[in-house]
Amino acid sequence: MRARNVVAVLLAGVVLQVVLPNAFGLYEALRIQFALIALVCFSLERDWFQSAMVGAAGGFIMDLFSGGRIGVYALSYAVIGLLIGRFQERLYKDNSVAIAGVMVGASFLSSVLVVNVLSLYGIQFDYLGLLTRSLLPSAAGNAIVGCTIFAILRRIKHARSRTWKRSYR
């Protein structure tokens, strides 16, 4: 996938994240992180280097549209991309439970990193309260939406490779 397309997908993800909760009056604390889902889906298929770069780009876009300091999400998404890209080969990607686990893990890791980076600037969170009120429902939402998107992408990929093999024969 070209870098331009990846950035466009991440940008669309962030715009959706900003516009959707308001339009549908969703449960206040539930935030489906489309940019994070896009990053995880990408990292599961690519190497650590590309994943880290895409993570940094996606996080940077998030930072531009968030109400906080630039660099917080970029840093945390770069770390997530790097880790998933590094260990993705050990995962059985057709197993939805494993993918859901990765989505949930990425959501929590992202929150832990963001909370820690923000605490350097004196912004303190009641992490336990945030976890129960917001992070758990958001992680569950990310897992459901992320698994569905990843499964669809895998199917498209398999269908394409089958078509390619048939035409090659």
Binding site: V19, L20, N22, F24, A56, R133
Partner: protein, 270 residues
């Protein structure tokens, strides 16, 4: 690219991100102002498109059975129904704004109606993006109301947009007092769904159900910004906790459902 080069590029990227993080907040704000100005039409159009989709969804799936049957059979009716839903939504919005305006007119504030076009992308911060900016007279620090309830203050202002920091945001701290003015404290946000009033004198008498309003505060840090007006309703005391030490704190119950806010009122002057 070789493995060594890749490692160098990743390390350089991380260093650059740390540099970005250490930049003054003013630089971050100016960069974001430019970007949000550029993407403002995208947010505005996306909001309108999603509103229309929601109307069609409501007409299709929440209408009665006869209407649903008709909608399936005749596309023309669907189109008309969608228009009707749109008109009803507009009437509802106008009625809501009218009610809010009447409530605020009684309080003696000059206000400006604004449409919410976006929300914070994550749950760490609690902010709203509204379609009013410096060209409408909005300043940093301007209080934002929903009805006669204070929901936040403007944190960043662009030409055509503003970012409102809700009172739920962990960075929000609003000087407050009870309606009778006997008890003073500071209302701080604790993330989605929780408001806390702290720094209340230990011997102050607080009762569950007492109304908490904003106390006047001049914008000392930003003299060009707007001061916080006194007497804007924040919420009611839901519970009081008598902690050890000099202060006690209280959990507030807001009358506003923050997830349902689609229009707000910006206090432009008193």
């Amino acid at each position: 690219m070789s493995g060594k080069r890749k490692r160098i590029v990743v390390v350089v990227t991380f260093v650059c991100l740390f540099v970005f993080l250490s930049l003054p907040i003013k630089v971050s704000r100016s960069v974001k102002e430019v970007i949000t100005d550029f993407f403002y039409p995208v947010f505005s159009v996306s909001r309108s498109v999603i509103d229309k989709m929601r109307d069609i969804w409501e007409v299709t799936f929440h209408g009665d059975n006869i209407v649903r049957e008709n909608l399936r059979k005749e596309r023309e009716i669907l189109r008309l129904r969608a228009r009707l839903a749109e008109a009803r939504e507009k009437v509802r919005e106008l009625a809501s704004l009218d009610k809010q305006l009447r409530e605020v007119a009684e309080s003696g504030f000059d206000v400006l109606a604004a449409r919410v076009i976006g929300r914070e992308a994550d749950s760490f911060y609690q902010t709203l993006l509204i379609d009013r900016g410096t060209k409408d007279g909005v300043k940093s620090g301007t209080p934002v109301l929903y009805g006669d309830n204070l929901v936040g203050r403007v944190a960043e202002v662009g030409r055509r947009w503003s970012r409102v920091r809700l009172i739920l945001d962990v960075r929000s701290a609003i000087p407050a007092m009870t309606l009778n003015g006997n008890v003073r404290g500071m209302v701080i946000g604790s993330g989605p769904g929780e408001l806390k009033m702290t720094l209340i004198e230990h011997n102050a008498k607080l009762e569950v159900g007492d109304t908490v309003v904003s106390a006047r505060l001049d914008n000392i840090l930003n003299p060009d910004g707007a001061p916080l007006s006194q007497g804007l309703v924040i919420g009611k005391i839901a519970s009081v906790s008598h902690e050890e030490g000099l202060y006690q704190s209280a959990i507030l119950d807001s009358q506003v459902s923050f997830s349902d806010i689609s229009e707000v009122l910006v206090v432009v002057s008193k």
